[in-house]
């Protein structure tokens, strides 16, 4: 397979994930609405919101800099690129492959820019959100790294998404599930979900992620919103493809591809449903309890490692 074809396939996977990101988010919203005994927004509401934002003006508060204007594009690009390191549908010659840790660092870059922009807007809440976000990230990111390393230990070489998926896709191990749970908890924290943040809140004093976006409007706000949704989908996809690669096809023939695509979609939306369930059944933690929560995630990741060594 030529590099060009492979690159094209990888990029189309990234584009596809980005394209379904609003749908995944809409799915969570609709499910949450059902738990609240209501109909909820249309599944496609995310796209409608973006389309609307495209006709709106970009307003800037006077003191913002180029950084503020650049940050949405950077975080969107980083979120899209992060998905290029692991195969969602088939591995082997077909698949996207790369260092998964790089994916995490690329995502961190996006977050870094968003946080800087939050500070840049010079509103009290932007700064508050940035400082909260960064302190949560400081705890969440190492846990994510450890969870990935648990999978990579013993495989050798850098944690390549395709290789990891290939190794783990064939056997089911209980410790892999532990690592997956640890990573899922990190996803909740990274994607501003309950119990760490509340995406549905209107209370500015409690916000983490949204506080950093309060000053954005128009296309820039559209980019920031989409970036957050893509990041969420990419992290869930990473969980589905690398931590739970079961069902992933090894060959490129159409039947196997279709099966593996169906399995991936089921896992992705299943995980999204899990997010909705968690978000609907627990209260948000007090801010100073978030380290305990992420500590528990770290504990799980370490337990996964111990279990792996022991079993």
């Amino acid at each position: 397979m030529s590099l060009a074809v492979r690159l094209a396939l990888t990029l189309s996977q990234a584009a596809l994930l980005a394209a379904v990101a609003p749908l995944v988010n809409g799915f969570i919203k609709v499910l949450k609405a059902r738990f609240q005994r209501r109909v909820g927004p249309p599944l496609t509401q995310g796209y409608r919101d973006l389309a609307k934002l495209l006709v709106k003006e970009n307003l800037h508060a006077a003191p913002t800099s180029a950084l503020f204007r650049l940050a949405p594009a950077v975080s969107l690009t980083s979120a899209v690129l992060a998905s290029a390191t692991f195969p969602c549908v088939a591995f082997g010659g077909w698949a996207a492959s790369g260092d998964v840790l790089t994916a995490l660092y690329v995502l961190a870059l996006g977050r870094f820019f968003t946080a800087l922009a939050g500070l840049d807007a010079a509103s009290a809440f932007g700064g508050l959100g940035s400082s909260r976000d960064v302190s949560i990230a400081a705890l969440a990111e190492p846990v994510a790294v450890v969870a990935v390393l648990v999978l990579a230990a013993g495989v050798g070489g850098p944690p390549d998404g395709a290789v990891l998926a290939g190794v783990h896709g064939t056997v089911f191990t209980s410790w892999r599930l532990l690592a997956a749970i640890a990573f899922f908890l990190v996803v909740l924290a990274e994607c501003a979900r309950v119990p760490v943040d509340n995406p549905a809140t209107h209370l500015e004093l409690t916000m983490v992620h949204e506080a950093m976006l309060l000053e954005y409007s128009g296309r820039e706000f559209a980019a920031s919103t989409l970036a957050a949704q893509v990041k969420q989908t990419v992290l869930l996809a990473l969980l589905a493809a690398v931590f739970l690669p079961d069902g992933l096809g090894a060959s490129g023939d159409p039947g196997a591809l279709a099966l593996s695509a169906a399995a991936f979609a089921a896992k992705l939306f299943g995980l999204a449903a899990l997010v909705a369930v968690v978000e609907s059944s627990v209260a948000k933690l007090r801010l100073f309890r978030v380290p305990d929560f992420l500590g528990a995630a770290a504990g799980l990741a370490i337990l996964a490692y111990v279990a792996r060594e022991a079993l």
């Binding site: 609240q36 927004p41 409608r48 209107h202 916000m207 128009g218």
Partner: protein
């Protein structure tokens, strides 16, 4: 932990269909008030009692008309009390429209002698009809109809309108299903929804909030207070309606307007 969800799923959905403007009125429910009697004494008594100065008798040429301003009426029913009352409660929502003047309903009076009575609505400085809203391109309106983000601002009411607005999020109304959502920042908003009388101490905040909203944008005033000041009118502490300070694209009467009417009014401004 999961029992909350399980209970909710077992209990089932409660979201209701949007009723027509005339459907679903309880027998006693206060709605709008129409003329019931042209007797001068009855009209005089109603004008005297009305706490919102919402009733007037206007003379133009040889004809007299009774005017009831749904932009002021607080639906107290005092003008409809007793057998000989000048007005009667008809079970319909108070008026909505694109100008404050369009909320004034006129009833020709038969054989009414004498001078004008009550407040002079013509003196009202209210009608700062926004040109921004009327000029919105169809493509914008179309996108707004599918995604409308609302920023609420209480300019100083009794909080009744705010609670009704809050009920739009109740699963029975579930305003999200219409693509409508309330947002935390004016920068994310398409509509500024004003409730409450325009107090002196919030004028600046209202102007600043609107300035922080990206164009294209709309301003809607809901409730008698936000239209005219309602029962609070103008005083040392307040200016009356929101349109004394900013241009307004849509008005909905009521004190407070009911949630379904609020949903209809949001649709009206996007027509």
């Amino acid at each position: 932990m999961l029992n909350l969800i399980i209970d909710a799923l077992a209990a089932g959905r409660v979201t209701e269909e949007v009723p027509g403007p005339r459907a679903g009125w309880a027998a006693a429910a206060v709605g709008r008030f129409d003329l019931a009697s042209s007797a001068p004494e009855a009209l005089r008594a109603a004008i005297e009692l009305c706490p919102a100065e919402a009733i007037a008798v206007e003379r133009s040429g040889g004809k007299a008309v009774a005017v009831i301003d749904d932009g002021r009426c607080v639906q107290c029913g005092l003008c409809a009390e007793g057998d000989a009352a000048a007005f009667k409660n008809v079970h319909e929502e108070p008026a909505m429209g694109r100008s404050a003047a369009s909320l004034r309903r006129r009833f020709p009076l038969e054989g009414f002698e004498g001078a004008s009575l009550g407040p002079d609505f013509a003196l009202d400085a209210h009608d700062r009809v926004s040109r921004e809203g009327a000029r919105l391109a169809e493509v914008v309106l179309k996108r707004f109809r599918r995604s409308l983000h609302v920023r609420h601002l209480d300019a100083g009411g009794c909080n009744g309108c705010d609670w009704e607005l809050n009920q739009l999020q109740a699963p029975q109304y579930d305003v999200q299903r219409f693509g409508v959502d309330f947002v935390a920042s004016p920068r994310h908003a398409d509509v500024l929804l004003v409730t409450g009388v325009m107090t002196r101490n919030l004028e600046l905040a209202l102007v600043r909030t609107l300035d922080a909203m990206p164009r294209p944008r709309l301003v809607v005033a809901m409730g008698a207070c936000a239209i005219s000041g309602g029962v609070f009118g103008t005083s040392y502490a307040s200016r009356g309606g929101a349109d004394r300070v900013v241009a307004v694209d849509g008005y909905l009467g009521g004190c407070p307007p009911r949630p379904w009417a609020m949903i209809r009014a949001l649709r009206m401004v996007l027509e």
